[in-house]
Symmetry: C2
Subunit: 332 residues, 2 copies
Amino acid sequence: MKKFVNSPDTILRDALTGVAAAHPELSVDVERRFVTRADAPRPGKVGLVSGGGSGHEPLHAGFVGPGMLDAACPGEIFTSPVPDQMLGAASAVDSGFGVLFIVKNYTGDVMNFEMAAELAADDGLETASVLVNDDVAVQDSTFTAGRRGTGATLFVEKIAGALADQGADLAAVADIGRRVNASSRSFAIALTACTTPATGKPGFDLPSDEIEVGVGIHGEPGRSREKMRPASDLAAELVETVLDDLPPSSDSPAIVMLNGMGGTPLIELYVLYGEVSTRLEERGVRIARSLVGNYVTSLDMAGASLTVCHADDRMIELWDAPVRTPALRWGV
Amino acid sequence: MKKFVNSPDTILRDALTGVAAAHPELSVDVERRFVTRADAPRPGKVGLVSGGGSGHEPLHAGFVGPGMLDAACPGEIFTSPVPDQMLGAASAVDSGFGVLFIVKNYTGDVMNFEMAAELAADDGLETASVLVNDDVAVQDSTFTAGRRGTGATLFVEKIAGALADQGADLAAVADIGRRVNASSRSFAIALTACTTPATGKPGFDLPSDEIEVGVGIHGEPGRSREKMRPASDLAAELVETVLDDLPPSSDSPAIVMLNGMGGTPLIELYVLYGEVSTRLEERGVRIARSLVGNYVTSLDMAGASLTVCHADDRMIELWDAPVRTPALRWGV
């Protein structure tokens, strides 16, 4: 295994040191392991806190900033952060308006965020939670009861973040986050397995002519092992699976993300997006906004996921609102 | 080889189709193979045109937009675009104020851009060129006489683009582009070789415990084959090599890019940047601005390059100017 690390044991600390050096607009607590906006807490604003195992960068720390998250708590690679991190982050960004936890549906994350919410309540800090569970591939999987949370996390963080920026209260911010999640579906295909620094080996074996269809962002198994096929065929499978699970309503605008898993060149993502967008439109989806790139990754995995949010006009308005984070930035 | 392609023969066309679908703010001529701002030509503005082989995305099409390039001409993978593409792009963006070609120093690119300049002159279209040759690794290499052009291309495109946006004339825009190039140095390390769709095999053999130091963005050989080492050691080598070639002048501000080659997870880039930034500061570099991410890639190569521009205050001002492109966006 060749990776830019000093030691697998120090990767999170070392990466946070780098994030601090690269992004002076963020405040990085390397000891307590959370990242906040440098100007937190913002008076009169609900605080948005997310987090989860590392290895999915830029998720979540790359989405901290005005218009999106107030804080992110990264765990070790593919490992939930602990309640103390979440509580520390929540306390750092709470201005008395309460804190929203955005939680991807993995057993460890859910349990730890619940514990953090209890600890926060003991401190008189009000919290609410949005559980993200958009991955249609499987019910129950390694690490998960129910559906896994993947790409829609970005949509929830962006849209709820914009509403919080406008001064909405905790119930309203949580509500739109839940509605975005309920309107979103994802599905992923892996061409290769990822290699964690701790093990130094690919997480699963994938023959040179086979792909894992419905893979999770930690390399969890999907629906089937299939033969490699042209991009047009894979695009059709992505689109059909996502839309069959939640068909588009007539003429509602969609936000679409074609996401690379970390090891796929951008030129391939554009090839795939050309096919995906054509097929979405054939199925009656009106693509209002799109993102193509590496946003919710799985270390060095080659692969891609499609996330579609069947939005309403209000969600589009909030999507378009200014955002200034390391990985998503517009309007400012 | 598993890649998201329909066929190695159609990858450029298919990718351009995807770029068109993803970026309605760009105008993509799939037949003639160039990408322009949808609002080109801009009256009273020098047009900036760059281009080169594909496989380095987001370079160059990802840098087309207000504040940066007016057009990009992508060649086939690792292959220069042809003069007709460059002439087509130049004609599409010229408003009578002339066009600047930004050319990475590879023999094919240089020859074809020269030919395009002659064809443009025949059409009464004034052009100037900036040759980018920032890679300190080697003099002469596969595809190159002299130094290779790599990461500094982004700096030239951004800073010259900002000056053009302010209405400067062709000579002034070319001049600052040349000064940015002259003030910039790059050096790269590969952990793995990249695989082109056409060959389906890694471009070179690299044992599991060795790295290619001074590698080019097409996998051209570097200075030495060395043993893999911790990130702190590799950061020291990157910094020393770049600064030994062009030492910092006292207290001039630096723009620093730690660039991933396409297959390196972002968390590793942050680990490496933490080490790089510390060593730069130890050597007296005042880091004024920084970028960490995948900007000038080499398909799926795992690796990273460091580019340092010893800027002046005017360059920093132009760096900070608004830019709105698919891959670089701030201030708007």
